[in-house]
Structures are given as C-alpha cells and as structure tokens.
Point group: C2
Chain length 336, copies 2
C-alpha cells in the first residue's frame, strides 16, 4: 500500500478498508478477512465498526459478509493518506471533524515537537483565521482547511518566502482542477475571475535569527456554494469556490493530496535551489506585473504600478514619481 | 503607595506589609491594623500568614502585635512591585519560586492574551533556555530570570532590533550596580572582564509581516558564586556573576526594578525615535568595533574586523579582502 499514516487509524483498519475497496460490489466474508489478516472475527468486526465511525458506508449481511459501495468515500485521514505520494508533507495526518482553527492546533503540536511535515486537516473550522488577525470564513463540509508544520533552517527574515512558496503550491494544486489557471494576489491569496478561492496564513515561532517552526495554513473554498446561504453577504461579493466556477464537485481528498505533493515539491526546490524558482513561478502566477494598485499600510497609503516580487519576496511597486518601493506588509488593492 | 501589581497578592496584604515596614523594629498591634484597614483581626491574621508564606519574617507577640525585621526582605512579587516606577513593563508581575523556563510561561500567557508589559519572574529555572536552542544555566537563588511580553506593531524583520534594545537596557541596568561598565557582545550577551554575566533570549510569535508578540527573556548572574559549586565546569570558564566581580551581594529586587525601568525607557524611545538611538548605545556599549572576530554560521565561517551594527541591527564585519558582510545569525567569537 502506497500511502501515509492517518493518525489514530490502525494499520489493520486501513488494510481492511483497502481490501473492501477492491471487489467493487462483491462481499468479503468475515472468515476470509479473519484468515487473511490473522485476526479473530470479533477483531474484524471491531475494525468494521471503526471504519463506519469514520464515515464509510459498509454493509454487513450475515450470510455473505461485508461490502463497501465505493461511490461514497468519506473525507477523512485514511482517504487522504491512501495513495499519498509525499515523503514528508502530510506524514502523519491529524484529521478533525471540527476545530476552532487548524493553525492553532498545528502551532500547539509544533511547540510539543511534532515533526516537520505533520499536517492538521479539519472538515470544519469554527474560528478560521486570516491574515492580520482577520477571520477566514470556513463554511462546513465544502472546504479544505489544513495546516502544515515546517522546520526550515532559515532566519525569520526569510519567512515571507515560505508564505509565497505556499501560494505557488496552492496555485499549482488548485490549477490542476480548473479549466483556466488561477491568479495569485500579493502576498498569498488565490483568485479566480477576481474573486478569492484560497488563502494562506503562515505563522511562525522564532528566535531573532532562527525559525523554530513555521505553520503554513491553507484554506480553499472547494465545494462551497457561492450564494448567500454559506458565505456572509460581505464575503459573497469577493469570494467564490472551485465548484461554483467549474460547475462540478471536486474531490477534496484528491485536491488535498495534490496540495501536499506541490508543497513538498516546492519546499524541496526551495531548500535546494533557493528562492529564485519560487519568485519566477509567483510572478508568472500573479499577473500583477503592470497592474495599478493601491498599497495600504499602517499610517500610509500610496498608488503605483506593480513590477513583481523581488529576491526577498517583497512586492516592488513603482510610484508616480518614479520611486520603487519594497512592500513587505499591509494590503494591496488592485485597480480596475 | 507607588508600585505595580504583584499577581496573586491582594491590595490589603500589600498594604499591611507596607505598614509593617515603616516602624523599624516597633510592633504594630492587630487591633491597630484591624482599625486602620477596616477589617477583622482574624482577617489581619490571614494576611500575616500570607506574608509569611511569601518569605517575610514577621514576628508575632500576643501582647504587642506584629513586627518585621527589615534586614531580611525576601525576593518576591510584592517586593519587586513596591516602588516600581514603570507604567507598562512589569505590570503585572507573575512571580514563581521555580519554573522550567520563564520564556515558556510568558509565551503561553502571551498566546492567551496577556497584556504588553506582563513580566514573569522566577527565583529558579530548571530548564532555562539560551540562544539557538542552547541551555542557560540558572543556579538557584542567585540570579534574575525574567521574561517580558511586548506587542510592538512592527514586522518580524525588525525583531532583532528589540533583542539589541534589550541588551542595551540590561547593560545600563547592570552598569548601575558596577564600578566598571559592562560590554555587550553581539547579539545580546553582557560581559564583564570577558566573561558572561547576562544574556537575552528573545522569541516571537509572528505572521509573515506582523509580530503578534515578542517575549524578551533576560538572565543575569547576580549573586552566583563563580566557582565550580554552582556553574558547571564548562560554564565556569566563560561565565561570572556581578557579586563575584564586585565582591558584594547585589539586591535582585533593586536590579530587577532598574531593568524594568530601562526596558521601558528604551522601548518608548524606540517606538518614538526608531532604532538609531538604540544602535548608537549598542555600539557604545559593545566595544566590538575594530576587534578581530571569527563568524561561525551554518555551513560557513570567516574572519574579519567588526565595524558595528547597522541600521537593521546586523553586525557589519569587514573581511580580509575588503568585503563588508552583514551578519544576522550564527555566533561571533572575539579574538584576543
């Protein structure tokens, strides 16, 4: 079995689910499973119960055994871990039905020495966080809410690079499920048709010259209806979802696996080749170059034209009077 | 009463201690105290018991009342808070007899929204932390171990400035108790006669472009014997204490009050006037300019001559071949 570890799911439980997925509509008897795995039939039953609790619709007929109808795979750690091809990212996966904020949980786990790559995934967030202390609306059942722990041996000055790296990874992962490529807005929002579909919130714990760990939080509006039923009126006007744009439901499991894959790919590239490839990809995805923007910072605001991000990840904005300003904080509003 | 709030000490308890300190050797009767404060004599007794638990040697004679012999003031929150002249720093003070690490406690409190200025003070640390994940030896009863929560509205890129600011504040506070000024070693060690007497460990929680909070941890070897009984052999060769250098015991309460005062003074100056005054003071205290040093970083080491710190707090080191390198991480070893 190619796959990662789903925290809290035993290897035997995972193996039984794997076997149940194979015969496509046929029944597997308790006796077969018991013999094949070298465990008692009572133990088989215990694992079946665990799988049902995880959301798998498993039928049991006394004379025939167990059957899984594969059209209804749930969203859980086992599904995400099955077939995951990463070496570090998403190993292990900690899945929660509902949390206040996946970033909070990952932050606490990282403080308690969780290894690099550990991912927290939640089906729902009750207090999702956005940049600068803002809220991130997390409608139930339709979004991806995940936070990944990284422990790069870099200085806090370099941390913004990882946030931009994450934006590129999200753009590539999401792009694979769309008929048109998404665009990245500085620093790390993902837009489709000018509306937000995903965002990154990176938070770190650091000494002055060394990052202890960084938590990369990603929120993606996947199968969220863009109407007023799920988003608040303010958010409705500026946000959309992948399903609303494409007109089809998208598998959160498949998208999350792609996301973990892209984060790993880009993180390894960054560690090996530095920030330049990330910078090039970000500038390619951003489509911000040449756009007129308004930069809003604490106590300051100015207009200018975007040149791109520089080698440190700062946004270069050329003001009217010709001066090029490096923007490292605040908000950037793109003009029409 | 001029002073700050000692967390966990009631205002009445504090007031009674204040009254007991006044008559210098005379007794105050329970009746007098009870009348003066408008509380029962049983309540007076409860407060006396609380004060005794805090380490105050209070005598009680049935016929005469209570007496405090002022030569034996303990090290506790009430003593530190009494006479504290700061507005923000050390308000309130959370005092602990022993903790693993004051930085850990302050970090957790900051996560739980403790206000700017909150200070954690411990008499002992069982797992004191130094820079870059190293240990900080914290011999019992002789040192100052404190961590202060700050919430400056600055970017993580600017965080090293606060660490250097803390080094300047520690140098000035400690310098007030010494016959010769101490020197600061990059980034934030305090040396006397080439041996370490104090250190700063600043840790932050941050988004990519915004500090949520920063914890400034300060350790000072005050009345620690510099012999092998208290420091490990490795540390003995490179560390000393204020009392060992000056030949007298120094009041930890007075030094901590001075430290809080200096941190507040420099922090306000930084918020008002920026980093330039800190930079000038640091360069003045460092005595590193012109010194030959070896810089040791991950995967790199080079020799050069120190020029000072620049406007971002990086150490400028001029290499043989004339190139000036900005050092922002790693260790700097000063040559003889």
């Amino acid at each position: 079995m190619m796959g990662g570890r789903a925290d809290g799911v035993s290897a035997t439980t995972a193996r039984i689910m794997e076997l149940l997925k194979k015969p496509h509509g046929h029944y597997l008897s308790g006796q077969e499973l018991s013999r094949h795995l070298g465990i008692s039939r009572a133990a088989v039953w215990k694992h079946i119960t665990a799988l049902r609790r995880m959301g798998y619709a498993i039928e049991a007929l006394p004379a025939r055994g167990y059957r899984f109808s594969s059209s209804t795979c749930p969203y859980n750690a086992l599904e995400i871990a099955s077939g995951l091809t990463t070496k570090v990212i998403g190993r292990p996966i900690h899945f929660h039905e509902e949390v206040a904020s996946t970033n909070e949980i990952a932050f606490t786990m990282a403080k308690e020495s969780a290894p690099e790559g550990t991912a927290v995934v939640a089906n729902r967030q009750s207090a999702g966080k956005g940049r600068l202390g803002r809220q991130w609306e997390s409608p139930p059942d339709g979004g991806i809410y995940t936070s990944i722990i990284l422990r790069p041996a870099i200085s806090p000055r370099e941390a913004p690079k990882l946030s931009l790296l994450a934006a590129v990874a999200v753009a590539e992962a999401v792009g694979g499920f769309l008929s048109h490529p998404p665009t990245v807005k500085w620093p790390n929002d993902l837009l489709i048709q000018g509306k937000k579909v995903a965002g990154v919130l990176a938070e770190m714990n650091a000494e002055m010259d060394r990052i202890n760990f960084i938590v990369i939080g990603v929120g993606v509006n996947v199968n969220v209806k863009s109407g007023g039923e799920v988003f608040s009126p303010e958010v409705q006007a500026i946000a959309t979802s992948l399903s609303a744009v494409e007109g089809v439901e998208i598998s959160r499991v498949a998208l999350l696996q792609a996301l973990f894959g892209k984060v790993e790919e880009w993180y390894n590239r960054f560690l090996r080749d530095g920030f330049m490839p990330v910078r090039e990809a970000w500038n390619r995805y951003s489509g911000m170059a040449g756009r007129r923007v308004t930069v809003r910072q604490i106590g300051a605001a100015f207009d200018g034209t975007v040149l791109g991000i520089d080698e440190d990840g700062a946004l270069l904005v050329k003001e009217e009077r010709g001066i090029v300003t490096r923007v490292t904080d605040g908000d950037v509003v793109v003009g029409r």
